[in-house]
């Protein structure tokens, strides 16, 4: 091998090394940067300012990553809001009477036998039937799309439970003593997933999204085209459960 050719090869190797190094840096930068972006989806809103319709908070759930034997999202919700395993209450209530803000649902195709597992909670409809039917306005939708119950106005008529297409709501059947500060609950009122409004207002993610070991639950602002959730919804197929009802859901599913 001639001296000139050896030098030329070394030059190519150094170019290659530099290129690989730069690529790695760019890749790391993008990964790290998008991670930062992901964490910054919900900027903390000052406590004296109301929620606005500039945001619409939502979830995108990738069912292909959701294991049938995993219920970390459910557990995280129970701990966050103090129901189920996260509370010592509801000792008298029968299983059919106990509250469930989020549950794992197994869906089986009758024809093929194919099974899917997914978390089901309030779908935070843009046109929520529970809000329409509530006589007192206790069942309400915030400007940023979060649907929840005003515990001071709820008279416990349960009409919202009749109207919800997702069985997302529960009625509290007995006295409670073990409530969380951020999650008011009480006998004789109706409750449901509130998209962890307490956390979202602090600029954090809902507990279920944070707890999912597979990162199958993506939280973000559906109205912000640069958000990770909006970008993924724009580039990948997704489904709304009972989309035929035209409720325009805040919670979307992938691979369903």
């Amino acid at each position: 091998m001639s001296e000139a050719k050896k030098m030329n090869d070394n030059k190519i190797d150094s170019y290659r090394r530099r290129f690989l190094g730069q690529s790695a840096a760019v890749t790391a930068g993008i990964t790290f940067g998008s991670g930062l972006l992901l964490n910054a989806v919900a900027e903390a809103r000052p406590a004296d300012q109301p929620a606005t319709s500039k945001n619409r908070w939502g979830l995108l759930i990738d069912t292909s990553k959701c294991a049938s034997d995993c219920d970390e999202c459910v557990k995280a919700c129970e701990m966050e809001h103090g129901w189920g395993r996260g509370s010592h209450d509801e000792q008298h209530s029968r299983p059919e009477q106990k509250a469930q803000w989020i549950r794992k649902v197994t869906v089986r195709d009758r024809a093929t036998g194919y099974q899917t597992s997914l978390p089901m909670m309030c779908q935070h409809c843009a046109h929520p039937p529970c809000v329409d039917v509530c006589p007192t306005g206790a069942s309400m939708k915030r400007a940023d799309g979060i649907v929840q119950v005003d515990k001071h106005l709820c008279i416990g008529c349960r009409y919202c439970m009749m109207a919800c297409p997702y069985k997302a709501r529960s009625f509290v059947h007995e006295d409670l003593h073990d409530q969380r500060v951020d999650s008011p609950r009480g006998k004789g009122t109706v409750e449901s997933c509130n998209l962890c409004v307490n956390r979202v207002d602090r600029g954090e993610q809902p507990a279920c999204a944070e707890a999912c070991p597979e990162k199958a639950i993506l939280f973000g602002d559906l109205k912000d085209p640069s958000s990770a959730i909006a970008r993924r919804l724009a580039s990948e197929p997704s489904t709304q459960i009972r989309g035929d009802l035209g409720l325009d859901l805040g919670v979307r599913y992938e691979h369903l």
Partner: protein, 404 residues
Amino acid sequence: MKPTTFRELAGTSTGYYALLGILGLLIASGLGAAYYMEHNGHWVTGMTNQIVWGMPHVFAVFLIVAASGALNVASMASVFGRTPLKPLSRLSGLLAIALLVGGLVVLVLDLGHPDRLIVAMTHLNLKSIFAWNIILYTGFIAIVAAYLLTMMDKSVSQYSKRVGFFAFLWRLILTTGTGSIFGFLVARQAYDAAIMAPMFIALSFSFGLAIFMLVVFAAYRWGGRSIGGFMINRLQRLLGLFAATAVFFVIVFHLTNLYAAEHHGVEQFILDGNNVYSGLFWVGYILLGTLVPLAIAYFKPFRASMGWATTAALLVIAGGFSIMYVIIIGGQAFPLQLFPGKEVSSSFFDGVVNPYTPSLAETLLGMGGFAFALALVAVAVRLMKFLPLSLADADVDPHYKPPA
């Protein structure tokens, strides 16, 4: 036909006080049951997060629907000119108010927070059919009270026809509102149908008249006043007509559902389900609550008999409770379709038929409301001139000919 003389019921007999005593006992049991449920919470009831409306709602909706139907006798006289029924118009208005109040008491006492009734009165979400109903119910009581006034106070009697017409319109809207509570539920397979509103109106005619007949027969028999075959026959045939109208709507509702494959599941569950709902539908509502009263109304051997008319009215009421139970409980027992065409299962009882056994407390609350309505009538007819002195053929039949 002679002018009608109205007179308070004497109400001095042991029987009258015994009746009040029994009703009082039922009211006290209902109140006790309500206290027990509210104090402990709804875990002591048969209701769950799957069957959220139970026995109290069956009673409450039945009574509210019957209330608007009870006004029909007055409407038929003043709006449709059926003068033979005119003597009973006052009682018709009274019973309408009483049944509505009875139904509302049950509904309110079953709330998770009955103490927040004032919230329901002051915070109205006008998109909610429930909120409309709060206005429709209170309005109904006010309008029918005004209607009664025009019937009982000669100085304002010239307004009777107009107020009566307004009350008739209001009651149609009111029952439309009650039926639409179910008709507007988009997500439930057993509901979500516009026909719910007219179906409830048709059902209200028969439920209301059946209770009305029982009240009239009890007042006249126990009060020692005379009631002739003419009035009995008229009420009996009218009940047959109303029962037939109601079953027509029920049949159309189910036929329409049977035509659509998406509703086959729920229709099979209700009509052919080897469960309590199918039994109540066919035996309770169709056979006992409709076909037998129809036979009593239109076959000659049963004509103008207070015994048979009472049987028919009791059967229509039993059938009414049956169909209300089927609609309200059966509709919730059938699983919600989260993923149409697919099987679902979860820890929250998705995809399974939801069981429900009414607790004694729920039933006592419902019966307490019914008893309260009847007690209001029993006291009112003693205090005020609601009942004609006589409903004998000579007094009410325009073509009456004394026996030769």
